[in-house]
Symmetry: C2
Subunit: 268 residues, 2 copies
């Protein structure tokens, strides 16, 4: 079983309460990779027998570091209509609320559709080298990234140069895994913190909120298979200790599969 | 008192429960303008004596139409740390959950900041005519909009032409009102539904989730005063009954004050 499937497995304690455990595969400097937390929370809805439709939107608010060990997830169906279904979730470790989340599911139907957005041009994945600049271990080892533009560069910059926050890359799971909503949720947080990119140094940071929209139907997800996603990541601004971060994840034939925005707190 | 201040006033029933009423000023075809609902939910946090810091992020999930009349808001402080504070909210009418929301507040500090994003060039507001194509009454009468690009055009298109989803406009409150987080929350939903723009016709729609990030500190908000905001709105795709919508709201000196993303359900 793929680590993403195995490690996000939840044990049902009651109809609205689940138990899980953090993953060494998806750890980071701060405890747990936010994409793993997002995937766990989405999975609580995906696995729920009450679910109707497919995921349309996921918002995760990271309120405390998720430390290595067990946690519980509460999942409440708030309202189910003809077209949409709304869920509220909380992830707790003991008395600490580590994350709250909302998920909206929807019934996709073959009605008028229109796709004006286009991905940037990028050389095919086989022409872009796999990035090998991450420290081995933890969540970055769970992804293959090929940067066509804006690869991370950790070399200190004596001249204080500020670089672009924009990156273009191919990304997929390691080991390979057919794309689904679970992996999209996790990947939507798998872009290097933009403050590191522009400054070329590490400062204390933490994602405090992440919103991911899922734009593909089941057919589009299946068509993608294990082919890398064409991804872009960028930031508008870094202001007074809070920065934004925007990501686009494109599938085959220029189809946009997910868009994601987040706010990152940074200390200095 | 400005209608936005008067009509979003909440009566405190208990420390975590408030009562409010919908507004004829901010009504729409479907009951209540989503921006009003967003402002009410943000206000519940702004008015809370436990609040620490300023709003950083707001997500509103619209689960049912908010009908004319009274409603209640529950507001729960989920976690307060050194830098951020997380809130969960629900807006109910009787037994119906009309909306759920989360708010993240944060302590902004004068640390390293960087603002790479730039607004598009637009002629100054006085050179762009005020749009007069909205039916009088309801929420659109609460805003002055001056479209430099992508003004709404409701004329049926016999040729089936699909137009751009992109708009550029100046926007401010009517009557004029100094900018604050409350008005930014409401304005972040004040962009004509993109499906109407591209198709030139009305179809049944509803915003199902809205996430707004606030990027300005109190000083930036005060500096803006009643000057119109430079706004852009766009969409990536309209897919199987769900479309996205992205908005940028810029203040004086090219300062980005808010970014917003939403998912709009459309019937056909």
């Amino acid at each position: 079983m793929h680590p993403l499937d195995k490690d996000t497995t939840l044990e049902r304690l009651s109809p609205e309460r689940l138990a899980g455990r953090t993953s060494t595969h998806y750890s980071n400097f701060n405890g747990t990779f936010g994409g793993f937390t997002a995937a766990v929370l989405l999975r609580a809805v995906l696995d729920d027998p009450r679910r109707q439709g497919v995921p349309i939107a996921l918002t995760v608010n990271y309120s405390a570091a998720l430390n290595e060990g067990t946690f519980e997830v509460s999942v409440r169906e708030r309202r189910t209509g003809k077209s949409t279904q709304h869920w509220s979730l909380e992830l707790t470790q003991g008395d600490t609320v580590a994350a709250t989340a909302s998920v909206v599911c929807g019934q996709r139907r073959a009605v008028w559709s229109h796709h004006p957005a286009e991905p940037p041009h990028m050389p095919p994945p086989e022409q872009v080298p796999v990035f090998d600049g991450f420290k081995p271990g933890g969540w970055t080892s769970q992804y293959e990234m090929r940067f066509a533009k804006g690869a991370p560069d950790w070399n200190p910059r004596a001249d204080g140069e500020i670089r672009s926050a924009h990156s273009q890359l191919w990304m997929r799971d390691v080991p390979e895994r057919p794309l689904d909503y679970l992996s999209l949720a996790s990947m939507s947080d798998a872009f290097v913190i933009r403050a590191f990119m522009v400054r070329g140094k590490f400062v204390p940071v933490g994602t405090i909120t992440l919103t991911t929209f899922f734009h593909g139907n089941e057919e589009a997800m299946q068509a993608q298979g294990t082919h890398p996603l064409l991804c872009t990541a960028d930031a508008h601004l870094f202001a007074d200790g809070f920065a934004d971060q925007i990501a686009h994840l494109w599938g085959k034939d220029g189809r946009l599969l997910a868009t994601s925005t987040q706010i990152v707190w940074y200390k200095e």
